[in-house]
């Protein structure tokens, strides 16, 4: 059924109602057929939506996501992104089945742009020099990332996962979702030490996750299942991708700083930034680089060059805000809980090991880095949202990257379930950590 079929059903219902009003004798029969139609309406509507053109269908879902986000926020005070992801999850194949991952293909450039804008914004908000000024913080960042990766790898290996697949899960576990972090910070507007550290650590652990996954590919290529011949090729590819990303990011940052200097209008600056993010994202993807790393570096460099002179609107303005809704809706569409009943030990191992590792590492370096205990707890909680594997792996779309070497399907599915759970609840973790534990939103204590 497509959109025209749905319109046909609606016209039939209207005609039937009109007939029953005009002819009392046939009212009973008409009433019967109307009640049958009303009973069947939800199924008919669903069929209608399923048959829609993917672009039109997603546009309708975006409207639903905006409403859902607003309602969830109004009723529960949860971040709007939770409602937007839930709208996507409801439409996913696992629920109503209105759309599926492949339906996102026409939208993939916009989704990449949405990710790129949030990552660029994250880069523009951090000052790497802080890691030099506070060595305790540098250790905290490194420990948090490394311990998360190691703990998840070891726990899954202990739970009989193949070592290569367990290592992949470990690499994924390192990252905190830069998208959820930025969206939550933009919405709640917290200010304080935990917020600044959350932004910095999300950036650092996302970069380390990208590096870990690149390293994993090199090591996996050296394993038995792919063949030794590809090891050198994978290593060269990883080095090229990393160095190229840094160079491209730095070049874009310098260029953007140079182009922004004469601009005095905030809107013009925002448009310039969006255009540069589009360009960078396309170049990074086309050249086989890591878009996340490239845009993060671009944001860092432009902030370093312009200092307070750089004005970055939250989500790069209204256009970015619209894309962010689309992004969270799409993340919801890609949610999967398939096989949870069978894979729950690995899922639980992934989630618990990651959570405990982040908590222990943050707390261990709390005092040496100048953080209080309550703030440490808030930071560890806010670091929980997980990042999509595709974003970390540098895939051009949010779908499962096709060029990943073969791994144990069960472990991958367990990781995807873990990511799903830590994405759909991610904004809540971030908000809870920042607002209620660290108390950094503008609320009196």
């Amino acid at each position: 059924m497509n959109f025209t079929d749905a319109a046909h059903y609606a016209a039939s219902a209207a005609a039937s109602a009109a007939a029953s009003a005009a002819d009392p004798a046939s009212a009973a029969a008409a009433s019967f057929s109307l009640s049958a139609l009303l009973k069947a309406a939800p199924a008919i509507a669903l069929e209608g939506l399923r048959g829609l053109d993917p672009v039109l269908g997603l546009a309708l879902l975006v409207i639903a996501a905006v409403v859902a986000g607003e309602l969830v926020h109004r009723w529960t005070r949860l971040p709007r992104s939770v409602g937007q992801m839930l709208a996507g999850a409801l439409a996913s194949p696992g629920a109503l089945g209105l759309m599926s991952g492949p339906d996102l293909t026409p939208w993939s450039p916009l989704l990449d742009l949405a990710v790129g804008m949030l990552v660029f914004e994250l880069g523009s908000r951090i000052r790497p020099r802080w890691l030099v000024d506070n060595p305790g913080l540098a250790l905290q960042c490194a420990a948090e990332a490394l311990l998360s990766g190691a703990a998840v790898t070891l726990v899954l290996y202990w739970l009989d996962a193949p070592p290569t697949s367990a290592a992949l899960a470990g690499g994924v576990a390192i990252a905190t979702s830069p998208m959820i972090t930025m969206a939550t910070v933009n919405e709640a507007q917290p200010r304080g030490q935990v917020t600044e550290r959350l932004l910095l650590m999300s950036a650092v652990n996302s970069v380390l996750a990208v590096l870990a996954l690149k390293a994993w590919r090199v090591l996996a290529a050296g394993g038995d299942f792919v063949g030794h011949g590809e090891w050198v090729s994978a290593a060269v590819n990883a080095t090229y991708a990393l160095c190229g990303s840094v160079l491209l990011g730095a070049a874009v940052g310098l260029l953007l700083a140079w182009l922004s200097r004469p601009l005095r209008n905030a809107q013009a600056v925002a448009v310039m930034q969006i255009a540069m993010v589009v360009l960078t994202s396309l170049l990074a993807t086309g050249w086989g680089l890591a878009p996340l790393l490239t845009l993060l570096i671009a944001g860092l460099v432009v902030r370093d060059r312009l200092g307070h002179g750089l004005f970055v609107e939250p989500q790069l303005g209204t256009a970015g805000a619209a894309l962010t809704v689309l992004l969270f809706l799409s993340l919801g569409l890609l949610f999967t809980l398939e096989g949870l009943g069978r894979l729950w030990p690995w899922v639980l191992g992934f989630l618990l090991a990651r959570a405990v590792a982040k908590l222990v590492a943050v707390a261990a370096f709390a005092r040496p880095s100048g953080l209080g205990w309550r703030q440490s707890l808030g930071l560890a909680i806010a670091l929980q949202p997980a990042a999509p594997l595709a974003v970390l792996a540098g895939a051009s779309t949010l779908g499962w990257p096709a060029d990943v070497p073969a791994v144990h399907a069960g472990v991958v599915q367990a990781v995807l379930i873990g990511i799903t759970l830590m994405q759909v609840t991610g904004p809540w973790w971030a908000q809870f950590g920042l607002q209620f534990v660290a108390r950094e939103t503008n609320r009196e204590t």
Partner: protein, 370 residues
């Protein structure tokens, strides 16, 4: 609650308190991280003190009891260096200045604590608007009577200190046209302004008892006077100065006050009178509005002078005392300020024609470190 006795202290000893801004290194807005900085500096070296202020983007530092300019300046520089190191670890910066150029009062949060909660409850939004930054200078007095005499004698010099320290031209993102707009925030408080004209500690005790009986005040802390006695320290406290942009200027201001106090105590050039206050508010306004270019009226002769000229004449009168107090370096710095301009004019120069205000705050933060 009756007025506590005035604890005697060594005459002309000094204590300096500075309220400081904590600013974000990214956008140079105020950073609500006083708690973090207090934790970082909890084990600082030296006898100086650091404590929270009413909102979370402020801290107050206080020196130990000092007698000479050089030692005071050394301690202030040590405080500044330790603070800057701690702030750097937190990715924030410390800055002087009487106001933050573009913060919005409604974004500020009250620092947790019984006293601050009480003030917030009592004064409402005024408490958050009190996110302004002043320098307070304590001068030791041997007894309450001497303290009150000195307090009233100093009243005619209040415009000097306002004009010399003025560093708050910008408020809530705009140039106010005032050199010291900070005092306008202080003036909003019902118990601000000048102390009542009482010349003995017993008489002042009677006034205090009457005020506490009305329920309007509970302690001396409830008075926001420009100069107020501090009986528990045995001092009078000058509260009209904006926090300067450098500790060097803060030390110079303190020692200028010390020299004037010695001059007044030893030479007794006039006797303070109630009528001195007839021109007090006008003079105060001139200093706030026009800084060193303002005009003040001499309460005795009724003549008008430029504040700059009045300070020059006063410096000439007190130089001998500055020499005895080893405060000539401080006096020289005050002279330099008369010709180079106060911190308010420096801040306006940083802004130039259309520089953004974050650039002004960044420049102020850099100057604090220099």
């Amino acid at each position: 609650m009756s007025l506590q006795p005035f604890a005697p202290s060594e005459p002309l000893t000094l204590g300096v308190e500075l309220e400081l801004q904590l600013v974000d290194t990214r956008d140079y807005n105020l950073a609500p991280q006083a708690g973090d900085l207090l934790r970082e500096t909890a084990r600082h070296e030296g006898r100086w003190d650091i404590k929270p202020e009413i909102t979370r983007s402020m801290i107050e530092i206080g020196t130990s009891i000092q007698r000479e300019h050089a030692v005071l300046l050394a301690e202030l520089r040590d405080m500044r260096n330790q603070l800057v190191r701690a702030a750097r670890r937190l990715n924030i910066q410390v800055a002087g200045g009487g106001t933050h150029a573009f913060q919005h009062w409604h974004e500020q949060t009250i620092y947790p604590g019984e006293r601050f909660a009480y003030l917030s409850e009592l004064y409402g939004y005024l408490a958050k608007q009190f996110t302004v930054f002043g320098q307070h200078v304590h001068v030791g007095c041997p007894n309450g009577d001497d303290a009150l005499w000195l307090l009233h004698a100093l009243s005619r010099y209040v415009p000097h200190f306002i004009a010399l320290s003025a560093s708050s031209p910008f408020v809530q993102g705009h140039d106010t046209g005032f050199d010291s707009a900070r005092l306008n925030s202080v003036f909003a408080f019902p118990l601000s302004g000048r102390a009542p004209f009482t010349t003995s500690w017993d008489e002042f005790g009677g006034y205090f008892d009457k005020m506490t009986a009305t329920g309007v005040v509970q302690s001396m802390k409830d008075f926001y006077w420009d100069i107020r006695p501090k009986p528990e320290y045995g001092t009078i406290e000058l509260r009209v100065c904006d926090t300067p942009l450098t500790v060097d200027h803060a030390a110079a201001l303190a020692c200028y006050l010390q020299s004037i106090c010695r001059y007044l105590r030893e030479e007794r050039p006039f006797e303070p009178a109630e009528d001195d206050y007839l021109v007090y508010t006008f003079n105060r306004f001139q200093a706030c509005r026009f800084g060193l270019d303002g005009e003040i009226v001499d309460p005795k002769t009724k003549h008008r002078h430029k504040i700059r000229e009045d300070i020059l004449r006063t410096l000439a009168r007190v130089d001998e005392h500055a020499l005895d107090l080893k405060a000539l370096d401080g006096s020289q710095r005050i002279r330099d300020t008369l010709f180079e301009g106060n911190d308010a004019s420096w801040l306006r120069r940083q802004r130039g024609r259309d520089a953004p205000l974050p650039a002004v705050v960044e420049a102020a933060a850099k100057r604090w470190v220099a």
